[in-house]
């Protein structure tokens, strides 16, 4: 048994060393941010009015706790990245985050948000609270359908965002069922999906972030949100075919 433990310990050491190598950038392969559905409203609005109003609707994983949480969370990072990459376009990101709200709850408040913000693009982060509460996948799917319907009726494009990849809670929280439902709805409704789960999983596998790490500090969380914001900007630009003018293409 000691022998076995020794082997395990040795493997753990080797692995740990490999995982600890810091990665400079958090580029995401194109296959993880597909642009199969077009963001037509976004494209028109930018072409005709040189502006883009985005509403972000979501729960607690769309924000960071602690001082200046809003400023470092991905919606603000997205705004910054878009401003950088779409010079000459007025970018406005409006945030509607309520912790502990399920997808059904969000469908309830969507009409008010849509009529107040009049956004061209809605980024809808959903699923985590539903997984936490064990909402029935079928009900979850119905809520998503209703929300997408409402967004489309308000002449806006939608991007759905699924759950975070959280390896330490994986044995307790089953998110994959809900992620599958979101992939399915995205495909059926021809809506762009920002697959945060797959992207963060990729970062973890590639050693970009050590998502197993226990820490009180905000450094990594902020960096993850920054990278999410940037990847999201890339997906919006690709799906809106906004690369036409001489825009900065560095990620």
């Amino acid at each position: 048994m000691t022998f076995v433990i020794a082997i395990l310990a040795a493997i753990a050491l080797v692995n740990g060393a490999a995982a600890a190598t810091p990665a400079e950038n958090c580029d995401v392969p194109e296959s993880l941010i597909p642009a199969e559905s077009d963001l037509t409203h976004v494209a028109n609005e930018i072409k005709e009015r040189h502006r883009l109003d985005i509403s972000v609707v979501g729960s607690a994983s769309s924000v960071l706790t602690g001082p200046d949480g809003q400023r470092f969370a991905y919606p603000a990072q997205l705004e910054q990245a878009l401003k950088q990459r779409l010079p000459g376009t007025e970018i406005k990101v409006m945030v509607h985050i309520q912790s502990r709200q399920t997808t059904a709850d969000m469908v309830g408040v969507l009409p008010a948000i849509l009529s107040e913000d009049k956004p061209t693009l809605v980024i809808w982060q959903a699923g985590t609270v539903d997984a936490l509460r064990g909402v029935e996948p079928e009900d979850f799917r119905t809520s998503l359908d209703q929300g997408i319907e409402a967004i489309k009726a308000a002449n806006a494009d939608a991007i759905m965002m699924d759950m975070q990849y959280s390896p330490r809670t994986e044995t307790m929280l089953n998110v994959s069922t809900y992620a599958d439902v979101m992939r399915w709805v995205a495909e059926q409704r021809d809506v762009v999906l920002f697959d945060r789960l797959a992207i963060m999983h990729y970062w973890s596998d590639a050693g970009v972030f050590d998502l197993y790490a226990a820490t009180n500090g905000y450094a990594m969380a902020r960096r993850v949100h920054e990278c999410i914001g940037r990847a999201l900007a890339t997906q919006i630009i690709n799906a809106g075919h906004l690369e036409a003018d001489k825009m900065e293409t560095t990620r």
């Binding site: 985590t128 909402v135 975070q164 809670t169 307790m172 495909e187 790490a213 990594m220």
Partner: protein, 392 residues
């Protein structure tokens, strides 16, 4: 299943294929339960609709009928029912034991893991703030942590089994038809057992009972009646064609670029493939797998005696113990991998070690049973029935 049914020809000869495939299913369930595991790529759920759960439940139904069917015929309804209920009780105790281990792990994570990135996900640990309610709900089998759904399903299936077995022994086809009707009703009317804090059981017992009863039906002579089908080349062809179809579809799950080759009409009809209610596609996939297996692996196959397969057979013969051990080892393995931010190498090592421990334990249990059997206090039973009797 092609052999003379053990229920009709009273024999102590055990169909070793059952033990073999149940043993393999237990290994696959173990591997699948470690979420971050490169070896998951070797488990059958990546190559078709059904997975090891179907195999496990079907064989459990088969062995339950094989063992308790004989008791019911020889000793009557009351005694066999008492034995079935005792078995359900053992499984209940095993489940609660696993729950305790799970709670220990969660409490540890709650106390040591902190990361502002996951403030929302960590709310899953809120139930620790209400241990009174949580533990009570767990005792009622309503609160079931991830991956702890199979044993509660098994308990419910066994609780319902005495009357089903009674009917199976008299009017087997009627019993099977009744089971199919219940399955259809569960789909149509959408009923399931409630779970805590909300939602329903991950494995709907009213749907999954079909597989269990079908297994039992096969054990009690049904397999023999099916030989026309299982020996037919046409059926084999259909089964293989379906397996290839399922494989092609699952490929499109792994490589999204292939997805556009699947017709939308087919997707609309097919998706989502529902595990909770044992989707017809899953059930059919299991049937196809079973048909192909039975065709190419007869019960007289000499390979079943080969030493290479003995570890899997041993594990299958002590399925409850090895299943529980597998769930525990999956927790422990996941824990080791998480604590050391492990890569593929560690995942492989943990998986191999886990299977090794499962095999070693199976041999240890066999050894215990053999010395108990020889002791003067040992209750007299045929050795094979003892093995099976403990493991239905």
């Amino acid at each position: 299943m092609t052999t003379a049914s053990p229920a009709q020809v009273v024999t102590n000869e055990r169909d070793l294929r059952l033990d073999l495939f149940r043993g393999i299913a237990l290994w696959l369930i173990f591997l699948d339960h470690i979420p971050e595991n490169i070896l998951n790529w070797f488990t059958i759920r990546n190559y078709g609709f059904s997975d090891a759960t179907e195999i496990f439940i079907f064989i459990s139904g088969y062995t339950a009928a094989f063992v308790y069917g004989r008791t019911m015929r020889e000793r009557g309804f009351l005694l066999s029912s008492a034995r079935i209920l005792r078995r359900a009780w053992q499984i209940y105790v095993a489940h609660i034991f696993l729950f305790t281990i799970f709670m220990a792990e969660i409490a540890y994570v709650a106390a040591t893991f902190d990361n502002p990135l996951y403030a929302e996900e960590m709310k899953i640990l809120d139930f620790l703030k209400q241990p009174d309610i949580t533990i009570f709900q767990a005792l009622l089998l309503k609160f079931k942590p991830v991956n702890m759904d199979i044993l509660p399903l098994y308990i419910v299936l066994l609780l319902l089994f005495p009357p089903i077995l009674y009917l199976l022994l008299r009017r087997p086809n009627l019993a099977l038809a009744g089971s199919a009707v219940l399955y259809a009703l569960a789909w149509k009317l959408d009923f399931n057992l409630p779970a805590y804090p909300n939602g329903v059981w991950f494995f709907n017992p009213f749907a999954w009972q079909l597989l269990f009863v079908f297994g039992a039906w096969c054990a009690l002579g049904g397999a023999q009646r099916l030989t026309i089908v299982t020996h037919s080349r046409v059926a084999l062809g259909i089964a293989i064609a379906y397996l290839i179809f399922a494989f092609a579809i699952t490929l499109t799950w792994h490589f999204e670029s292939l997805d556009r080759f699947v017709p939308t009409l087919l997707k609309d009809w097919m998706y989502p493939v529902d595990k909770t209610n044992l989707d017809v596609l899953r059930f059919a996939h299991f049937l196809a797998l079973a048909a192909v297996t039975v065709y190419f692996v007869p019960s007289t196959w000499s390979g079943l005696k080969s030493p290479i397969l003995q570890p899997a057979i041993r594990c299958g013969q002590h399925s409850l113990e090895i299943f529980c051990l597998g769930v525990f080892l999956a927790f422990a393995g996941q824990f080791i991998i998480a604590e050391s931010s492990g890569g593929p190498l560690l995942q492989t090592a943990v998986s191999a070690l886990g299977i090794f421990i499962m095999i070693a334990t199976a041999y240890l249990i066999s050894w215990y049973k053999s010395i108990e059997g020889r002791s003067p206090l040992g209750r007299v039973k045929t050795p094979d029935a003892d093995l099976a009797g403990g493991e239905a």
